[in-house]
Symmetry: C2
Subunit: 334 residues, 2 copies
DNA sequence: GAGCGGGATTTTAGCGTTAAAGTAAAGAGT
DNA sequence: ACTCTTTACTTTAACGCTAAAATCCCGCTC
């Protein structure tokens, strides 16, 4: 490894002069500068970032900590990256597998020290566990969990989104709408809130809420969504609509319906949540609640920047608005 | 920030004793140990990783550098993560947007110093640019590019995969198969090699190779795939099969075919490449070349571990085998 | 030609950690 | 009783960088 000291010796100057040339801090006479640059080139010197980080107490790096690199998080990450880079910082992703232990470890003082700021997509931690996190490091939480007031937090209008999607299907004739994955779950506000929206749409339309139509799924995967809906079909429970808790789950529903010979949207209308890239391409086009990834990314990064810039005012709790994107899987669609 | 020195003062011992307790290196008498631990707890001390990294010359962190966090890379990342973690290291993802400048920057001495090893999914750099990278840092390259011999490299059997998929469609009756995105491109061995496989399948079957069926796409997205195939349909060029260069592009083709009222696989057979999670759920099930993400991940991580363990033998160039997963989008399917 | 101002460069002093060498005290061996 | 270990802990010296203070050198003034 080539150090500044090696360059300094080669150029016949002090280490500080090399530092000043490399970082363009204090002015350096042109002949000296040229000699230093020549030495830098000759030796292939590049600054040791670890040493700089230690000395500077900054890393110019932001971490986005996600449960998995898949699907929704992959798409959001790609929105966040340019916003972080625009401020001259680096973005790195870390993965927690959604487990509370991993998330807690990611929020440990030790790990936080590696970054100037952290965006954490909370999947496993509850309010109490988060409350135990004591740090001055800028943090913005994302995700559909209950979090302590002192954290900046961006989440989606889950209830409203679910209500919109369900009401839309009711408006277009569905009367028995499966809430696929919309189970009550103290830990999981995502499913609970979407369940409430599903329920409210029914009540608003004067329809009965039948608990048999709330179908639990084992994981938020397409496979689990398909299996769960196939079970519903096999059970003989009649239905004419499906609101899936996420688009990934909705894709599983698409598969189940196709396998079972049920036509979308003629026999069964279908809507999802997240409006992933793929959703507009899966025939006949997946009606979905759009959570505006880009807006969420901008809001979250904005809050983080504010904190990193030294803002100490009260934390904000943003609920990102949603809108329904109607496509061919429901009867209002094109 | 609480430093070891603060803990040492609180516990009435030297800094080294704290270090020895915290890292369980040299043995420390139980009463002393307890006093140190109490001080650690009281002050909420956690080690400063930046300082440790500088001192140790190691970071116990591996970076996976990808063009984007989306789709294929998201899925591969999720396979790689547990393999890295199993060795007690951390995995972080960085993004290059696929641009040569970003990739080169990621391979700069400075950035490499932050990691004990790097997995780089090459998308933009060519052989010459890679050849300019001079570093002893363990690196494994992934992706369908030509790379200098001295780098460990894992790529897919692109030609064979494309040939398998195309031959399969020919075997089941297709005679005019669009090679969607399978253009020759000096820089992009992925498309070129898959094009060659598409071509070979034709020749093996004694069919003419008609260049009009090689359809370029602007980007490897579903939108570009759909638009390109819609153009083909509008042009009136007759076809009865589509081999899409990736599953993401194939999804665009699915949309284009559905919009145009063409039935899959009755009117048009369709096959893709990558076998993404979604591919088995998009009706009628996407026939796809499976590149065995998990195997690729294991191979790449294995090569990286070997290098990090000090192996200095010649680099390996692994071509990961592929197999065809037949689903409903082709006529051999279920 | 002593004194001064100011730009160029160097010296000093860490950032927080840990490998290695050093010391001090208690116990073992002869 | 004196070495010789062993155990427990401390001191020293970096890792590679840079903010701040100190020094040097030159032309300029009066």
């Amino acid at each position: 490894m080539v150090r500044m000291a090696d360059v300094a010796r080669e150029a016949g100057v002090s280490v500080m002069t090399v530092s000043n040339v490399v970082n363009e801090r204090l002015p350096v006479n042109e002949p000296t500068r040229a000699r230093v640059m020549a030495a830098v080139e000759a030796l292939g010197y590049e600054v040791n970032l670890t040493a700089r980080h230690l000395r500077a107490g900054r890393t110019d790096t932001v971490a986005f900590i996600v449960p998995s690199f898949h699907d929704y998080f992959g798409e959001v990450s790609d929105k966040i990256a340019p916003l972080i880079e625009a401020e001259g910082r680096h973005l790195v992703l870390e993965r927690t597998s959604g487990s509370p232990e991993h998330e807690m470890a990611a929020l440990s003082v030790a790990r936080l020290q590696l970054y100037d700021g952290v965006l954490l997509s909370v999947a496993g931690l509850d309010r109490d566990q988060l409350d135990r996190v004591r740090t001055a490091k800028p943090i913005v939480l994302l995700g559909e969990r209950d979090v302590p007031d002192r954290f900046n937090h961006v989440r989606l209008a889950n209830e409203e989104g679910a209500r919109l999607a369900t009401a839309h299907m009711i408006e277009h004739g569905s009367r028995r709408i499966v809430g696929l994955g919309c189970t009550f779950d103290t830990a999981h506000m995502m499913t609970s809130d979407r369940r409430i929206g599903w329920e409210r749409a029914h009540r608003d339309a004067g329809l009965d809420v039948d608990a048999r139509y709330v179908v639990p799924i084992s994981t938020f995967t397409s496979a689990a969504g398909r299996d769960a809906l196939l079970d519903v079909i096999a059970s003989g429970l009649p239905f004419d609509g499906v609101f899936a808790v996420t688009d990934v789950v909705a894709l599983g529903a698409v598969a189940a319906l196709a396998e079972s010979g049920l036509r979308v949207p003629t026999d069964v209308q279908l809507a999802g949540f997240d409006n992933l890239d793929m959703s507009s391409f899966v025939p006949p086009g997946l009606t979905s609640v759009d959570a505006n990834h880009e807006g969420v990314a901008e809001t979250a990064v904005g809050l983080l920047h504010r904190q990193m810039a030294g803002w100490t005012g009260p934390a904000e709790h943003v609920v990102a608005p949603v809108r329904l994107v109607v496509r061919g899987s429901t009867r209002g669609g094109a």
